[in-house]
Assembly symmetry: C2
Homo-oligomer: 182 residues x 2
């Protein structure tokens, strides 16, 4: 949202075919809920194209990138790293510290979301391993709750630039306007 | 969580193969984030089996069911209906009313999560059409944020009965204990 230091989501691991929709949903959730950028493994070009297309139509700023070396991105990250995992500390216990680092200390935040088994050095590289519950569920759900808590709901108020279209909230039915009708 | 009136998630629409993981993630998210029960279309038996297996291992109470008539379930629901859709009213504007209905007035809540195109009568049947953002993202992310806001975080504190195993929150690494070690 460009409100303070950037928040970047790193999707770790992607099995083409099997993970296409989950990776796409990680990217769309990152965009909708206030992250500035998402980075996918370089075999996730199809998910990248879908997220870029949504950004073209519904607005940004939001960037989607591929990386051939997520490990280097982790090692070289100039800021703090959060790894979302069901084995981590409880989100309700550590979210305050993470918000302080991001909003008060202005630390850019890299949020790592795993697919298949995550290598152990990711746990060590992370400043926080965070569990949105210690139950098995969905990396998309974990990311969504984490971002909503990180931004304390401000992400729901953000405005979108360069959108072609805009959905108008309705009690019943669907209303989509061309973004220049306003 | 059995704390007040029940919260049931109804997954509407399921394309076998294509939707398997998304439907499973809807079910696991419902369980992890405080719903009492999830109901899938009757062609989603594989997702049902996965959610039931996780409940066996990690605890409950949580029920997973199939229905051959989601429309009848909607028509006959004795309580309030929330339909999650990007076209709906903003969650931050209506969550207070929904909480009042559920917690204060004790109304059971049916939360509808669509897959493919949702028939228009669902919009009409719903007491609230709710958008977790008016952006396209993920029904799993929308459900997660909705439940976290409905329960105001209490779902993260729930205890699990009849679990075989329990994950112990850790700063680094993984620790899983047999549930009777305590």
């Amino acid at each position: 949202m460009n409100e303070t230091a950037e928040v970047v989501i790193l999707r770790l691991g992607h099995r083409p075919g099997r993970d296409e929709r989950m990776t796409t949903h990680v990217g769309l959730t990152a965009r909708a809920l206030g992250a500035d950028r998402v980075c996918f493994p370089d075999n996730a070009g199809q998910s990248k194209a879908t997220v870029a297309d949504i950004t073209d139509r519904f607005g940004g700023p939001f960037d989607v990138e591929l990386t051939d070396s997520p490990q280097a991105m982790l090692r070289n990250w100039a800021g703090k790293i959060v790894h979302l995992t069901m084995y981590g500390e409880r989100v309700q216990d550590v979210e305050g510290e993470i918000r302080d680092a991001h909003q008060d200390a202005g630390e850019p935040l890299l949020v790592v979301v795993g697919a298949e088994k995550v290598p152990f050095d990711v746990y060590e590289e992370a400043d926080w391993n965070v569990g949105v519950t210690n139950q098995p569920h969905s990396e998309v759900a974990g990311l969504a709750v984490f971002l909503d808590r990180l931004f304390e709901g401000r992400e729901l108020e953000r405005e979108w630039d360069d959108a072609d279209r805009r959905v108008i909230p309705m009690e019943t039915g669907k209303r989509v306007e061309s973004a220049d009708e306003e």
